[in-house]
C-alpha cells in the first residue's frame, strides 16, 4: 500500500497506543500540547495513564522522572523548544544525571513547523541533547521509522530524546528495514560522495542523488536516524569508500548532526566535508516549503554542497 506523506508525530502517537495496549507500564506527561504532539491518541485510549500537567514544562519532565522510579516507562511530551530549552535543567539532572527511564519526545522540530515562526521552531535540540551523558538522540526520517523508534525506546531502558515533525514527510523507509539504535541505514549506495542526513533532509538527499545521477555523480545516501550514539563505523566506511561527506539536517550547523559527523571524521579519517543546515539564524513565519528554500535546506542546496565536496577531493 502506498502511504501518503505523513508527519512523524503521527507515527509516534499511533505506535504509542499500540504499545500501550500490551504494556501497562507506559505513562505519558504532557505540557498541554498533546493535540500537537499526538500524545492525545494515548490519552483517549488510556486516560488513567496520561497526565496533562498544564503549561509547566519543568514539572512535565520532573513528574515523568518520579513516575519512572515506580517501574513506568515515562514519556514526557511537548514542543521541542519548550522541553529541550525551557526544561533543560530537568532533562539534565532529573533524567540524565539520575539515568532514569524517561523518553523525552517532542514534536515541532525544525523550520517546517511553519507559520508559527521562530519561537516554536526548534533548531538547537540535537546540539543540547547530545552533549548530555546517558542521553540518546533520535530523529526519524518518516512515519514508519517514527513507529519503530517508539517501539525501540519502550524496549530500551534509560533516557531518550526523539524529535518528530509537524509537517508531512514522504515515506522513504520500509516496514521490513532494520532499525537499530546507533546503526545508520544506507538508503542508496554510491561511490563519489556520501550524504549523511536525518529527519526531513533524508528525502531531500534522495532527491539530490536522483538529480546528480544525470550529471554523472554517484551519491551514497545514509539515513542517520540516531544522532547519539552516532554510527562511527558507517561514517568511517563511507569516508573511505566515497572520499567525501556531506551532512544535511534541519538544525543549526553548530552542534548538530554535522558537528557529530565532523568529530568522527577529524579523529578517524579526515576527508573533504560540507555541511547543510541552518547558519546561525532563528527561523521565521512562512510555509514549510518556503522556509526550507529560504534556509538552504532543499535538494539543490545538497547538490551544491556535494559538488563542492567532490571538487575538494584530491586526484
Amino acid at each position: 500500500m502506498e502511504l501518503k506523506p505523513t508527519p512523524t508525530r503521527d507515527g509516534f502517537g499511533e505506535e504509542l497506543v499500540t504499545l500501550g495496549k500490551t504494556n501497562q507500564n507506559i505513562v505519558v506527561t504532557s505540557g498541554d500540547l498533546e493535540d500537537a504532539t499526538r500524545a492525545e491518541y494515548f490519552k483517549k485510549e488510556f486516560p488513567d495513564r496520561f497526565y496533562n500537567l498544564g503549561i509547566t514544562e519543568q514539572d512535565v519532565v520532573g513528574t515523568a522522572a518520579g513516575l519512572s522510579t515506580m517501574g513506568y516507562v515515562a514519556f514526557a511530551t511537548s514542543f521541542a523548544v519548550f522541553l529541550t530549552n525551557r526544561a533543560y535543567d530537568m532533562i539534565r539532572l532529573d533524567v540524565c544525571y539520575n539515568n532514569l527511564n524517561v523518553k523525552v519526545v517532542c514534536s515541532h522540530g525544525g523550520v517546517t513547523v511553519g507559520e508559527d515562526g521562530a519561537s516554536a521552531q526548534c533548531l538547537e535540540d540535537f546540539a543540547i541533547m547530545r552533549v548530555l551523558p546517558n542521553m540518546r538522540v533520535i530523529c526519524p526520517a518518516d512515519y514508519i521509522e517514527a513507529k519503530k523508534a517508539t517501539r525501540v525506546m519502550v524496549k530500551t531502558s534509560g533516557p531518550f530524546y526523539m524529535r518528530t515533525s509537524r509537517s508531512p514527510l514522504p515515506i522513504i523507509t520500509r516496514e521490513d528495514d532494520h532499525f537499530t539504535i546507533g546503526k545508520a541505514n544506507v538508503l542508496r549506495d554510491g561511490k563519489d560522495a556520501t550524504v549523511i542526513a536525518c529527519g526531513a533532509m533524508v528525502s531531500e538527499a534522495l532527491s539530490a542523488a536522483e538529480k546528480l545521477k544525470h550529471e554523472g555523480i554517484d551519491l551514497k545516501v545514509v539515513n542517520m536516524h540516531t544522532i547519539k550514539p552516532i554510527d562511527v563505523q558507517m561514517i568511517i566506511k563511507s569516508a573511505k569508500d566515497t572520499g567525501a561527506i556531506i551532512t544535511a539536517e534541519e538544525h543549526q550547523l553548530a552542534g548538530g548532526l554535522g558537528s557529530a559527523v565532523a568529530e568522527v571524521l577529524v579523529l578517524n579519517y579526515p576527508c573533504p566535508m560540507e555541511m547543510v543546515g541552518v547558519k546561525d539564524s532563528f527561523g521565521e513565519s512562512g510555509s514549510p516549503a518556503q522556509l526550507l528554500a529560504h534556509y538552504g535546506l532543499k535538494d539543490i542546496n545538497i547538490i551544491e554542497a556535494v559538488k563542492k565536496a567532490v571538487s575538494r577531493k584530491k586526484g
Binding site: 505513562v27 488513567d48 495513564r49 497526565y51 500537567l53 498544564g54 509547566t56 519543568q58 514539572d59 519532565v61 520532573g62 513528574t63 515523568a64 522522572a65 518520579g66 513516575l67 519512572s68 522510579t69 515506580m70 517501574g71 513506568y72 515515562a74 535543567d89 530537568m90 539534565r92 539532572l93 532529573d94 544525571y97 539520575n98
Partner: protein, 273 residues
C-alpha cells in the same frame, strides 16, 4: 494521639551527635554547607527517627516511604542521618567530597538511602509528585516527603509542582520547608520576600502547618496531622535557625557554604558539649 511512642530525650541526645558529626564531616572535607545542614537536623532526625517507614539494611525496599532531598547541598545532614541510622558505616563520613567517594558533594543515589541526585534547586517536588502518582496507580500506600530550602522556593518550578500536588489531591505528599530565613547572600526575605508564606501555600491548595522546626515534639504533631489530612497535600513550614546550635554560625549567610577550619571546629564542638 501521636501515632507512635517515641523517646524524645534520646532523640534530643542524637541531635547533638548529629551536629557534631556534621561539623566534623565538613571540617574533614574542607568545603560544604553547614548553615542549612544544622538548621535541618531535627527535620531529618524526626523523619528517620520515628516518622518514615524504612529499613536501613534494605534501602530499596519497595514499600518504604520516600524522602526526597530537594535542597541537595545539605548532604552533610543527610549523610550524617543515614550513617547514624545504619545505612552505611559512620567512618565513611570522612570521605565526604573526596575523589572516588560515594559521598558526593550534593546528595547522590550512590549513597544507600538517597532517592534522587539533586544539587540544582527546585527539582524535588515534581519528582516527589511523580512518585506519588505512580504509587497511587500501583495501589501502594507509602508516603512521599520532600525537604526543601526556603531560598529554594524562589524557583518557579516549585510552584509548578505545588499546583500539580494540589490538583491531583496528593495527600500522601508532605513537603517540608526548612525556613531558616537565610540564603547564600543574605536574609531570604530581603533578597526576594517569601511572605506571606503560609498564605501562598494555602492559596495553592495545601494543608499548611507552621511549626518550630527545632522542636521534635512540634514536628511530631505536624507529621501526625499530615497523616490524618485527606484530599490535599501537606506542607510543614519548619521555622528554624540557620547554623543552629553554633553561636558564631547562627543566622549568618557567611556560613551557608563554608566549612569550619580546625580551630572553628574545636570552638563549635565545645559549644555542643
Amino acid at each position: 494521639m501521636p501515632s507512635k511512642t517515641i523517646d524524645i530525650e534520646s532523640l534530643k541526645k542524637k541531635a547533638v551527635i548529629f551536629r557534631r558529626d556534621i561539623l566534623e564531616t565538613l571540617e574533614a572535607a574542607g568545603s560544604g554547607h553547614p548553615g542549612g545542614s544544622l538548621s535541618a537536623v531535627e527535620i531529618f532526625l524526626s523523619l528517620y527517627g520515628y516518622q518514615v517507614n524504612h529499613k536501613p539494611n534494605d534501602p530499596r525496599w519497595e514499600d518504604r516511604d520516600r524522602v526526597i532531598v530537594s535542597k541537595g547541598h545539605v548532604s552533610p545532614v543527610v549523610y550524617t542521618t543515614l550513617a547514624n541510622f545504619g545505612y552505611f558505616p559512620k567512618e565513611e563520613l570522612k570521605t565526604f567530597r573526596k575523589f572516588g567517594a560515594r559521598l558526593q558533594g550534593h546528595v547522590h543515589t550512590k549513597v544507600p538511602g538517597v532517592e534522587f541526585n539533586t544539587g540544582s534547586l527546585g527539582h524535588g517536588l515534581s519528582f516527589a509528585n511523580g512518585i506519588a502518582l505512580g504509587a497511587r496507580m500501583r495501589g501502594k500506600d507509602f508516603k512521599v516527603y520532600c525537604v526543601m530550602g526556603d531560598g529554594e522556593i524562589q524557583e518557579g518550578s516549585v510552584w509548578e509542582a505545588a499546583m500539580t500536588a494540589a490538583h491531583y489531591k496528593l495527600d500522601h505528599v508532605c513537603a517540608i520547608i526548612d525556613y531558616n530565613k537565610v540564603q547564600e547572600n543574605g536574609p531570604t526575605n530581603e533578597i526576594k520576600n517569601l511572605e506571606p508564606l503560609r498564605d501562598k501555600w494555602t492559596a495553592f491548595g495545601w494543608n499548611v502547618l507552621d511549626v518550630d522546626g527545632h522542636s521534635i515534639e512540634a514536628l511530631r504533631v505536624a507529621f501526625d496531622e499530615f497523616g490524618s489530612t485527606k484530599g490535599k497535600p501537606t506542607v510543614i513550614i519548619a521555622n528554624t535557625i540557620k547554623g543552629k546550635g553554633i553561636s558564631f554560625m547562627e543566622g549568618k549567610s557567611a556560613w551557608h557554604g563554608k566549612a569550619p577550619n580546625k580551630e572553628q571546629l574545636a570552638l563549635a564542638l565545645k559549644e555542643l558539649e
